[in-house]
Amino acid sequence: MKAKSILRTLLLVFVVVSGVSLVIKDVRERSQSGTVSEGSTVMAATAPLQTAEGNPAPTKKPPKVIAYYFHTTFRCTTCRTIEAFSREAIEQAFGDALKNGKLEWRLVNVEERANRHFIQDYRLFTKSLILVKMKDGKQAEWKNLPRVWELVRRKDAFLRYVQDEVRAYLEAS
């Protein structure tokens, strides 16, 4: 009887702690939503640069491609595999482009409030690999690579798919 009541108390404490921690995390994230995160780079890059006088600065940034992998705080096994394969595909085939800045690899947690805008920006409905083409410091176009989910159990096909898509974007930029 005593063991039952100890167990009941422990489990109820766990329920309460879980609920409270859920609320605290949410409140903390809301209060931190104003801070700059890695995800805000696209927003900054899309807006034209301003000079001290307020006139648009001449933007002669070289074109580049950004490969984003968007995830949430919870990382499932398949999601980790997609991230690892995507990264491998890019590093394996585009080492030079990564070094000279023509290609960038970025990981973004969309659960962080400052990054939530990406959900609407790129119509995200699950963990996704998105390619963004930047021209003159502005986002020119973007593309979702939805077949990563379909090919995740065929590594060779997965790597080829991602490399073909990235190559096509790099060549066209």
């Binding site: 039952k4 167990l7 009941r8 489990l11 109820l12 766990f14 329920v15 879980s18 609920g19 921690s21 859920l22 995390k25 949430t72 705080t73 919870f74 990382r75 499932c76 096994t77 398949t78 999601c79 969309v110 659960e111 959900i119 609407q120 119509r123 995200l124 409905f125 699950t126 963990k127 939805p146 989910w149």
Partner: protein, 231 residues
Amino acid sequence: MSEGLLVPSATALWLGVLTSISPCPLATNIAAISFIVRGMSSPGRVLATGVLYTLGRMLTYLILGALLVASLLSIPEVAMFLQIYMNKALGPLLLVVGLILLDVIPLRFSTSCGGARVQKWAQSAGIWGSLPLGMIFALAFCPVSAALFFGSLIPLALDTGSSVTLPSLYGIGTGLPVFVFAVLIGLGAQWVGKALNKLAQIEKWARRATGVIFILVGIYLSLVHIFGVPV
């Protein structure tokens, strides 16, 4: 059903089955199976619980699908909201339900006013409880189910203009493997119980196991989704 809708319908059903057999909803599937199996003394009860569980899932996807196809809801917002918040809420909820099933948190009903009717309702709630259980579990999207539902099923429903049939078939597909598995386990356990003449005892333990499984799944989901413990 018109011939044009036959292939999309089969696809929707198959997408549902694929969702159900993917590893990510494994924890909730185990909880659902244990809930359906617990009434094993009566095959009718197991079947009814399984059917209502599948119906619950179907209703959720039907409502969600209809709202999304009619563009009353934004796909990205709904998809990410459910993935971020539903799994977090599900952990503590399952824990509480598990404690109720084990009678650690007793639900007391007044016997002075229609007590017999309330008691009867409480007994039958075991069967009817599977309907909201199916509805809630269906809302707990994981990355794979979100990719299949929002990325494959909804575009298919939009293409064919089928906001009722395809999401409903998808819902049936997601419940089907759990239903078949639970019924097989339930009937198998009943057969063993009858053969050993210990059906009542096995059922008593099955009921307790359901409560324990709900608590374990609740703790697992809370640790992973609220406290960020890596899996």
